[in-house]
Symmetry: C2
Subunit: 326 residues, 2 copies
C-alpha cells in the first residue's frame, strides 16, 4: 500500500486526525519536496500564513529556566479559557547526526488525554533552512488543524532559537532569580525580542533583584523611546511548579495581544515576518542548488585541496559555481 | 586618505600589527566582498585553510558554566608552554539589531600586556552565512598572524554555537555539578561533539554525580563502539577560578591531538570540515542572489499577500525566483 500523499494527510489533519497531524509535522520537519507540498496548500482558507488565525507565543530563556514547566502551566490557563492550544518544543540539533538526541519528549502527561491540546517536539533533521523555516510552517499546519493558540518553546538561547522565538506574535523571556541570568539574557539578545519577562522560580532568593536588574536593562535599552512601539515589557514573577503568578503571565500576553491589535502593530509584525520568511525560502531553493553543486567528484577534489592548504575555500566555491553543471 | 585595502591590512597583520589584525577580523565578521578578499588571500603559505598550522580548540557549554574563566585559565597553560594563542569568543546575535548587545567584551585583563595572546569577540552582523562562515575564516586569519593555538569559545549552546564549536580540532564541553546539566548538555547535542568533558566549579556539591551522569550518557551513546574513532572523551573536574584541574584539561587536549594525529583522523576531520565550508560558501554566494531577488517592489507586494493569507510563502518565493531579474 502506498503511503498517503502530503495532501491526503493534511486533509485528515484538518478533520481532527491527530496521527495524520503528527505525520504532516514530520514532513515539515524533514524539509524538502514534501514540506513544500504541504506549505503550498496552506493559505487563508484555513488561517494559513503569518496573517492566519492562530495567535503565536514564543517562550525562550536559558536551559534550566523552567520553560517547559511554565509552558505546561500556561497550557492549563488557555484550556480553562476554552481555547485549543498546540505546543511546539523546538530543540537544537547536533551538527553530526542532524537530529535531536532525545527525540520527541514524553512530557506534560496531565494534558495527554485532552483533545484540545497538541504537543510536539521539533528538531532540525539537517535540512536546508532548518528550524527557522520549519517552525513557521509547522505553526501554519497547526492553525489549519484548528488550534487557536500555538506556543513555541525553545530549548536554549542560541542564534537560531532566538530567531525562532522572535518570530512569534508575543515573546515571553524566562529568567531565574539572581543577577547573572538577566545579564545572560541581555548577552543572548533577548532584551530586544521580549514582550513579557517572567522571573520564574521566584520563591528562590534573588527574585526581586532579578526583577530590578531587568527593569534597569530595559531602561538602558530605551524600550518604548525610539521605536514606534509604546509597549514596555512587563517584568513578572512566577513559580510555574505551583502555578503561582501564571494567570498574571497569561494576562500580560492577552494585554500585549490587545495592544498589538489596537495599534495595528500585529499586521505590521506579520508583514515583516512574511517578508523574512520569503527571503529565507528563496535562500533554501538556491541552497538546494548549492548542495547539488557541491556533491560531485570535483567538489571532493576541491575539498582535499582546501584541507591541504593549496586552495582557499572561497575560490573553491567559485570554481564549483562556474562549473558547467552549476 | 583612503582606508587601507584588505590585503594591505592583512599584510600588516602578518607582520604582527595587532590593530591591523583587529581590523581584518572586523572585515571577516562583517562579511561581504571585503571578507571574501581576505579569504582568498589565505592559503598554505601562512597555514591557511582547515589543514593549516593553528590547532583549534572549541569550548562550549550552557551560559553560566564558567567557559570564560576556563578559557582564561587555559590561556595561561598554553602561554606557560611557550605557545602563542588567540581566543575567539563567539556571541549569538539578536535577530533585530544584527549585533551583539554588549559588543566586544573587556575581559581577561591579566593577559592584556602579553603580545603572545590575542582576544576577540565575534558576533554576526546579520550577514549571510553568519558565524558559521565567519569563524573558520577568522581562525585562518589568526593562523596567518602567527598564532599556534586558537580557542573558540561560544556563549551558549544553540544550533549555531554547537555547529561552530564542533568545527574545531578538539572540542571541550563544560558542564556544572548536578544532574540537570548533563541532561541539558545531551539535549543540546553536545555529547556528539565533545572530545573532552569538564565538570567545572567542581568544588560545589554534585560534581561526582555530574561526572557519573556524563559517563553513563557516554555509555548510552555507545561512544567508541560503532564509529572508527576509538577515543572516549575523558570526563575531568576543574575549578577554573582557582586553576585546579586546568593542567589536566590541557593535558587531555594534548592527548586528543596526539590521538588524532596518530590515527590520521585529524586529516579526515579537516577534509570533512573543508567540504562543509565550501558548501556553505557556495550557499552564501547563491543567497546573495536570493537577497537581491527579494529586495524589490514585487517582493514587498508578495510579502503583503502572504501576510494577508492570500498566498503561501513557498509560492511567493517561486514567483521571485521566476521573475526576469532573478
Amino acid at each position: 500500500m502506498a503511503s498517503p500523499s502530503p495532501s491526503t494527510l493534511l486533509a485528515a489533519a484538518r478533520e481532527g486526525d491527530r496521527a495524520a497531524l503528527a505525520r504532516v509535522l514530520s514532513l515539515v520537519e524533514r524539509g524538502g519536496d514534501a514540506a513544500r507540498q504541504v506549505g503550498t496548500q496552506l493559505t487563508s482558507a484555513d488561517g494559513g500564513p503569518p496573517g492566519g488565525r492562530a495567535y503565536t507565543v514564543g517562550i525562550t530563556g536559558a536551559p534550566g529556566a523552567g520553560k517547559s514547566t511554565l509552558t505546561n502551566a500556561l497550557v492549563r490557563e488557555v484550556r480553562d479559557a476554552g481555547h485549543r492550544i498546540a505546543v511546539l518544543a523546538v530543540d537544537p540539533s547536533s551538527p553530526f547526526t542532524g537530529g535531536a538526541l532525545l527525540g520527541d519528549r514524553v512530557r506534560m502527561g496531565d494534558h495527554a488525554l485532552d483533545e484540545g491540546v497538541f504537543i510536539r517536539s521539533m528538531a532540525t533533521r539537517g535540512h536546508l533552512g532548518g528550524l527557522a523555516v520549519a517552525t513557521p510552517e509547522a505553526v501554519r499546519v497547526l492553525s489549519a488543524a484548528g488550534f487557536d493558540w500555538v506556543l513555541v518553546e525553545t530549548v536554549g538561547v542560541g542564534q537560531v532559537e532566538v530567531e525562532v522565538a522572535g518570530q512569534t506574535d508575543t515573546t515571553i523571556v524566562t529568567v531565574n532569580p539572581g543577577w547573572g541570568d538577566a545579564v545572560q539574557a541581555a548577552k543572548a539578545g533577548l532584551m530586544e525580542i521580549a514582550d513579557v519577562f517572567v522571573v520564574n522560580k521566584a520563591d528562590r532568593p534573588g527574585a526581586s533583584e532579578a526583577r530590578r536588574d531587568l527593569e534597569r536593562l530595559l531602561d538602558m535599552s530605551g524600550s518604548g523611546a525610539d521605536t514606534d512601539v509604546t509597549w514596555r515589557p512587563p517584568v513578572l514573577t512566577a513559580v510555574a511548579t505551583t502555578g503561582e503568578g501564571v494567570a498574571e503571565v497569561w494576562d500580560a500576553v492577552a494585554r500585549h495581544r490587545a495592544h498589538l491589535e489596537a495599534t495595528g502593530e500585529l499586521t505590521e509584525r506579520r508583514r515583516r515576518r512574511a517578508a523574512e520568511e520569503i527571503t529565507r525560502l528563496v535562500a533554501v531553493r538556491l541552497m538546494e542548488r548549492a548542495r547539488a553543486t557541491s556533491g560531485g567528484d570535483q567538489a571532493a577534489a576541491l575539498a582535499n585541496e582546501v584541507a591541504d592548504g593549496a586552495l582557499d575555500p572561497w575560490s573553491a566555491a567559485e570554481r564549483l559555481l562556474e562549473a558547467p553543471s552549476a
